[in-house]
Amino acid sequence: MDTFKVLVVEDSPTMRQLIVFALKRIRGLQIAEANDGVGGLKKLSAEKFDLILTDINMPIMDGLKLVSLIRNDPQYKDVPVVVITTEGAQEDRDRALALGANEYITKPIQTAKIIDVVKRLLAVSG
């Protein structure tokens, strides 16, 4: 069975724990966590990930900046990025997608949707 490495970048421990809980329901995922964009970049430079989930509103470096940097990195330019955020306005969605995010999910947390999106982007069924 294929294994995929997924990075969760989220400053809220509650939300991070819930996202990790959701992802653990998908077989074959290895999950790493980071508190903010800078922490996320450090993890991304240390090892290769197959998918990245990130919040937008975070201290130090926000999620949009992180998405932009990821897309400018040749190693990660094709890696799926999912934004999970409280920002529900259409312009926020458009901005994130224009920067290169593959999916935009709004809070409150939608566990089933997160699972579906990750499965689809990684093309896994389990």
Partner: protein, 272 residues
């Protein structure tokens, strides 16, 4: 020709005629017999043929009946299996929803009781309300027992000037503090959310109301409260209250762990 010769000729013709007649009669007799025989055969065949046909038809009809019956049974089994699949699908979705609810409750509870720091507890309450429920603006009011007044402890996402102290029993918020009964409205059902919040949740420790949680506004993508939200409100009403209460006790003790003193005091009492 003489008369005798004439008689003899006539007699001979009569003989010949008689012979022909006899042969005709025999032939007729034979024909009648043959006719009789053939009619008998026909009757026999007529009797035999329909009987054969009926048997085959009956056999085929019986087989068709069996196959029809099998088909109905298979269709019935397919229907049963489809129904079972539907039931399993529904049950799976119910279990998934239950699983998500339990995860939300477990993680919220885990986070609320992970610290004795009041600021941290307020942050966790805010995280739960924002990330799990979808609340953008809220306040926490604590009860001042001596003045019978609810005073704002924290206002999140809204201008604090909109939120003022409330007497117990006064207005919607004061009534909830008095009764201990939660009050929920739809997001669009309040004309003045600061006087009449869309949700007022009593914070209860044991049987005592120690304050209220007022929700003023939801995230724009959040349409309405769900069953999971209501479960989370139940959890916040008790667990957040206990966490706040414990953190305040901890602060009153100058952050010295209470359990050491209590434990050793009890031990000393037992020894005396």
């Amino acid at each position: 020709m003489s008369e005798g010769e004439q008689n003899k000729g006539a007699q001979q013709r009569a003989e010949e005629f008689l012979q022909v007649f006899k042969k005709g009669a025999e032939f007729t007799q034979d024909l009648l017999k043959e006719n009789e025989r053939l009619r008998y055969q026909v009757l026999k065949l007529e009797k035999a043929l329909p009987a054969g046909e009926t048997g085959e038809v009956a056999r085929l009809k019986g087989r068709i009946g069996e196959l029809e019956s099998e088909k109905l049974e298979i269709l019935s089994q397919i229907k049963t299996i489809e129904q079972e699949n539907q039931d399993y699908d529904n049950r799976y979705n119910e279990i998934e929803a239950e699983n998500n609810l339990l995860a939300n409750l477990y993680i919220s509870s885990y986070q609320l009781h992970s610290t004795l720091d009041l600021t941290e507890i307020i942050r966790i309450i805010q995280e739960i309300l924002l990330n799990l429920v979808g609340v953008e603006q809220f306040s926490i009011m604590l009860l001042d027992e001596t003045q019978k007044t609810l005073r704002p402890l924290v206002v999140e996402g809204a201008d604090p000037q909109h939120v003022s102290s409330v007497q117990v029993g006064e207005g919607v918020i004061g009534a909830v503090a008095q009764s201990g009964e939660r009050r929920l409205l739809g997001p669009e059902e309040s004309a003045d959310v600061f006087a009449d919040p869309i949700a007022v949740i009593p914070l209860v420790v044991g049987t005592d109301v120690i304050g209220v949680l007022n929700l003023y506004r939801l995230l724009q993508q959040k349409v309405n409260f769900t069953n999971i939200d209501e479960e989370l409100f139940n959890l916040l009403g008790t667990h957040a209250a206990t966490a706040i209460f414990t953190a305040m006790l901890h602060m009153e003790r100058d952050s010295r762990p209470i359990f050491y003193d209590s434990f050793f005091a009890r031990m000393a009492e037992d020894l005396i």
